[in-house]
Amino acid sequence: MATRTLIIQLLYLLSAVVFILGLKRLSSPATARGGNALASLGMLLAVCGALLEPEILTFQWLIVGAVVGGLAGSLMARMVKMTAMPQMVGVFNGFGGAASGLVAAAEYFTYLRNVAETSVPALDGSISIMAGTLIGAVTFSGSMIAFGKLQGLVTEKAVTYALQKTLNALLFTGILAIIVYLVVRTPDLLSSTGGVAQIQVLYLALAAAALLLGILLVIPIGGADMPVVISLLNSYSGLAAAAAGFVLSNNVLIISGALVGASGLILTNIMCKAMNRSLANVVFGAFGQTTGGPVAGAKRTMADVNDVQADDVAMLLAYAKQVVVVPGYGLAVAQAQHKLRELADQLGKRGVTVKYAIHPVAGRMPGHMNVLLAEANVPYPQLYEIDDVNPDMPNVDACLVVGANDVVNPAARDDPNSDIAGMPIVEVDRAKHCVVMKRSLNPGFAGIDNELFYLRNTMMLFGDAADSITKLIEEVKQL
């Protein structure tokens, strides 16, 4: 084997190893950044390997593509706000899937083109191509819809219509039919006149159908479930890459694809667990198609809530022994993490023990709150998981709910008919006092009303979290 091929192969092997080592380092915050750097190094190695491939004759075009992509990518990465992280991942995701799909397509056309020289590919060869096309296309269109939903370009509601599942099922069967037909009949078709044309048409039909399927699969899923969908699509994009690897029988593609596939599946799983929903239920449940959702009792109004001002809250907090802060998506929207930390510091100075209770699905991505608070340099030891805080809630003097809603909704615990029934929550209602900061009584992502706001020991501090917290800091300083 030519030394060149050997070098290429070794570069690929090395890059695969580096990817794994990089992911291993992601398991501790201290080493995580290095791990990410390592992973990108792995990517660099793989690219070098690819550039050495003898098939490459002209570089100008791929340079064009790389430059364009590089610029676009870095711009997007710099621009994106932390709150928009899920969409961003969604977009990148879709592009990755598309790329894999295109690779498969190109391979197929190359094969059809120089079918004269090449021998008919073995069954499984073309199977991998079809698989790559299918997964790639679904990942792309699905991710784009997910992006649209999170960005508000497409309705966040779960769009449902009659026979929806039936339609999807039919579409899917159609796709399978085309694949089988193509895989089995290709050899004969090639030898028949106009066969190639027919094949191309069929293949394009396949691609189109796959794109449509992606759209139809994601459209009926409610906005609240998007993060799950995105992480599922993430694992798909990995599988798409792996499929491309099968097509090119290129191990580095297979390995990294599998790694991504695995990580996506695990994360999806974790999210579903945290929401106490099955993946099937997330994907087919058309959860959150109703905006309001069943409200316990008659519709409540502002009149029923105990609406307080910053000074009252400041008083309560300043003289509390133990305060538990429950951050939610609202904190991210208000970008109030730094202020929040400042408030906590103030309270700390006054001898108040401040704990942060981090709900696994608070925010819009797993670990979303951790990222936010880390950004504000909140020391680790102050972050607690639900199970660590819930038990001695009754001894907590005040819970400070900052832009969280669903994750503190007692309905999840009490109302078996609730959309989020069974989802573990931070039981702030069991604390001595509970202060909820949000701008209105509007529901959260799950789109259901929250009993908590109307409880006797709950105080509502309305307004943007950032403003409210600023006020609180002032007030506390006064005392």
């Binding site: 992911l23 992601l26 398991s27 915050p29 995580a32 990410n36 992973a39 990108s40 690219v47 690819a50 490459i56 791929l62 593509g65 790389a66 364009v68 992509g69 590089g70 676009a72 990518g73 870095s74 997007m76 990465a77 710099r78 991942v89 990148f92 995701n93 592009f95 990755g96 790329a99 295109l102 690779v103 190109a106 391979e107 056309f109 073995a122 993430n234 990995g238 798409a240 890459a241 792996a242 099968f246 029988s249 191990n251 593609l253 297979i254 990294s256 694809g257 599998a258 790694l259 991504v260 695995a262 797993p366 670990g367 951790n370 990222v371 880390a374 340099n377 909140v378 680790y380 998981e385």
Partner: protein
């Protein structure tokens, strides 16, 4: 062909195991970075894309190739940068506690 496919299956299965073992060790704190980081890795299809774009099999293929390269690059570059942006915070955090 089948031979290579079979080997590919071995590689795939093993890599899946490695993935599961390694990923399950990642704490919730790092799940978002993990998500975007692994997402960046899925841009590996750039390897295939580059070859197609460079093979110069004619306009159609170059077009497909360039498109693929561009998209994959966005995924890779964007993904890693975003992840780094997130982890930077953690990093600072880590230092400040060290």
């Amino acid at each position: 062909m089948t031979g290579t496919i079979l080997v590919s299956v071995y590689v795939f299965v093993l890599a899946m195991f490695v993935g599961f073992e390694v990923i399950t060790k990642v704490p919730p704190t790092l799940h978002t970075p993990l998500m975007s980081g692994s997402n960046a890795i899925s841009g590996i299809s750039i390897v295939g894309a580059l070859v197609i774009a460079g093979a110069g099999h004619g306009t159609l293929f170059v077009a497909i190739g360039v498109l693929a390269v561009a998209m994959a690059t966005i995924n890779v570059v964007g993904g890693f940068l975003v992840t780094d942006r997130m982890l930077q915070m953690f990093r600072r955090e880590a230092d400040s506690t060290e």
